[in-house]
Symmetry: C2
Subunit: 199 residues, 2 copies
DNA sequence: GTCTATAGGAAGATAGAC
DNA sequence: GTCTATCTTCCTATAGAC
């Protein structure tokens, strides 16, 4: 089946791009990892840019599949911590995004539009959800837009930091606790306890 | 004077690398911006890697100069917000760091060691300072290491996010407020007020 | 579908003239 | 110090055989 080969190449490209970035990745490296030649890869993905875009979609698909079944929005801190933990379980997922985000920032890389749009959409969605649940201010006292921006920054920053920090196992827990504090939910004095204490 | 030319090249390289990343930057591009040729640049900086390392030092030097005069540690949220605001006033400063951080992540780039060491040192220093001031837990209830990691993640994330977000003017204020909440200092209910309320 | 061969270009770095 | 010229390496992408 054709899809097998495609997915095999996507997996390989995900790993390599996570390890070396977009510009640092040669099609040869992807091909070698996937067990075929450069030209074989180009048969499935007409260009390197196209390959990257498909990787990003592939990544989103995997992350979404992981959250399927959860009632997203019920437990913000939990959802995010889960996502963080999931991506940590396969670091390439987070790395490829962070790396591409950084490269997207630096000009007209193919993924610039993708990343920009994703950031904005996540922020808008989060603000909307926070307002719907808490009103204009979350329990911590922050305004909804401020809280949303802070939470997203926290997530992005955690992605970055754990990549350079071997002691990364702590990060999902840090996200959980820090989000509980930022939003003002949870009992922060007994940290370690589940922060979702609303009901 | 020799230093003039060097600094001129560093300024040019800072801008170009912020715009295109390390791998995306050619010495030709730096040279053109600095008003000389590739070989002229290589006369002052023997290699591209060496040039990058000197840019990072240059950047730190500028940032430190900006904080000079402040009593660092007196007002954590204020210090960080100031740094964020300063870097925003010259986006290349933040961009080049974020970009290089991302590239450092992806392997053996020249700056990998630099960034790794800087992250760790900042975290250690922050933890130590928090403990010294607040003890094992900050007022918000987070443990000092957790608070430190969350704060650093917040800063890193803000760097990333504002790069893709045109409405970035809000970010210094967001940092100020979110940090006050994370640490548990300041009166978050009247957000916008100075968060440093300790005596 | 997957390969060999090759076109065509870009970049880092060195040698040496002025 | 700054330049021209050159070496060398690496990469994307295409053309065409099997």
């Amino acid at each position: 089946m054709v899809s097998d080969r495609r997915e095999q190449i996507l997996e390989a490209a995900l790993e390599v791009m996570a390890a070396h970035g977009f510009r640092g990745t040669s099609i040869d490296a992807v091909a070698e990892r996937a067990g075929l030649t450069r030209q074989g890869v180009l048969h499935y993905f007409p260009s390197k840019k196209r390959l990257l875009l498909e990787i990003l979609s592939f990544r989103e698909e995997l992350a979404r599949a992981n959250l399927a079944g959860r009632r997203v929005g019920e437990d913000w801190a939990g959802d995010f911590a889960e996502t963080v933990a999931f991506e940590q379980s396969r670091p390439s997922l987070a790395t490829v995004y962070s790396v591409v985000l950084a490269e997207a920032v630096t000009g007209q890389e193919p993924a610039a539009g993708f990343v920009r749009q994703r950031c904005r959409s996540m922020q808008d969605h989060l603000v909307e959800s926070l307002i719907e649940r808490y009103g204009e201010r979350v329990p911590s006292g922050l305004s909804a837009p401020t809280a949303a921006a802070a939470v997203l920054a926290l997530i992005e920053g955690v992605h970055q930091l754990w990549l350079v920090d071997p002691e990364a196992e702590r990060y999902p827990q840090i996200v959980r606790e820090a989000m509980a504090v930022l939003l003002g939910t949870g009992t922060t004095a007994t940290e370690g306890q589940s922060p979702a204490t609303k009901g």
